[in-house]
Amino acid sequence: MSINQIDQSAKFGSVTFPFPIFTASGCAANGKELSQFFKLSEIGAVVTKSVMSNPRSGRATPRMAETASGMLNAIGLQGPGIDSFLEHDLPWLHAEGARTIVSIAGESVEEFAALARKVRQAPGVSAIEVNISCPNVENRGLVFACDPVSARNVIEAVKRSVGNTLPIIAKLSPDVTDISIIAREVHDAGADAVAMINTLLGMVIDTKKMRPLLANKTGGLSGPAIRPVAVRAIYQVHAALPKLPILGMGGVMSGEDAFELILAGASGVSVGTASFNDPNAAPRIQRELLEIVEQRGFNALSEAVGYAHRV
């Protein structure tokens, strides 16, 4: 059987993506730069950099530190703001034939709701990813994704904004005692799927300067170092909520890594940090993944989703 005969599609709520590999938010900007390396329409979807209501400068530098098999980042959601995004970036992606998942980030429940309303009205959006790993300014800066009530409030508000027009994917943080509790809350609140995992909170101290290396002190840890945490989190959530589609991510560098996340329960896989090392990572990983899925004798990628739970 040739690769092309396998059904490669990945379903998230009401939308079916023809291919299973996506970019990860914040690791592909808004597509233009990567389109120099491959056709964006070749992969499942471009997940755009989380966008906020207003333009954001982001944080001071240094914003990154390489760590063992990983990296820390503290970008601070630098971006053009939703209006500029919808005016310039989204139409460009649409014209390129890319399927687009718009990632939104807010500092308050109301900001999320307002962003979702704007995204809903824009043409060329396949789904909306809600990055709730942001500090909630109305609740002592506590991250929404780390508190079941805040997480639920955001997703409910977004759901009210978009209704059933677009699938809602809630992006979860692994920095919680029990991620399946958060997953259940956002699911109950109307999320059609969850994306996981966001980065782990980490810190590097510059031992020469004897102070935190990042200007922001802490940053998010990504890359292969965290893959075992991603696999565990996906496995747990899939076990708790087998019907809830998961967009898996965390340290995926190869097709085999992507397959690992799929076996754990991911319906599709986002490629983040890997693209920094290899701008062609997303299409390469997609090719490698399909070869593996074929070798294992599956007729459709969806048959492999959560397969590791069968034993």
């Binding site: 950099k49 982001g58 530098t61 914003r63 990296m71 292969p224 920094f276 090392n277």
Partner: protein, 280 residues
Amino acid sequence: MTTPVQTQCEVISNKRVGAYHHITLSADKISERAKPGNFIGISVGDEKSSMLLRRSFAIYQASGRGPFGGTIEIIVSANGAGTRWLVNRAPHDKIDVVGPLGNSFGIPVEPVRALLIGGGYGSAALFSLGDALRQRNCRVEMIVGAATAEKVFAPVEGKRSVHSLSIFTEDGSMGTQGRVTDPIASLLDNTDIIYSCGPMGMLQAISKLAATKEIPCQSAVEESMACGIGICMTCVLPVIGDDGQTRMVRSCTEGPIFEGSRVRWDDIGTVPSGTYGGPK
């Protein structure tokens, strides 16, 4: 900006030059596209390396079809584990390269008087610029400096690229004792444009001197880069736009070369107040 490509390059040669390694790579597609000031991103370490991120290197020379096809040359200072790995590559080894990256030096249409200033391996990027300027009939004066003689990069062949070359070392072990910035003030009156590449402190000092006479000053900066291709937003610095607005700008795509007077040198490592999208 030219479209970059990702390609497996063969190491053609790797030679020690003072404190540095001069590495030549076969790289048809990159050499074709490269312009003075561009850089490349090299993936370091073997298949099981814990080093995830590419390292950036200015292109020293890009040559068209020679005996090995198109080649690019870089000058590498072994500072940490990634550069140590790189300088240990032997001929025939393959390395994964993305390039050419970033913008390139702006080259005036008129035959101007150009002053090129390089600190440490920073001079590497300036020789091909010198060639391009000479082709445009510019007068090219170059000042190269470093802490010690072995950290000066000024190859004999390089002299062909410039009309004059002066060398400064902080310990006096080569050329004049002092810093590259020492002679600048006296040269400004005979200079139409400055190009500089080296440590941030040097770029800043040169920009400030150039500003006293409103001489354009193209500075190639070196910021920590996770991706080198514009998708991660780690490499930003505060730069003033045409509209007078300070923005946090990516040095890998909108740089590495900036007009010195536009860079808010004193505020690097902060988000200066008033920056577009900055905290209120």
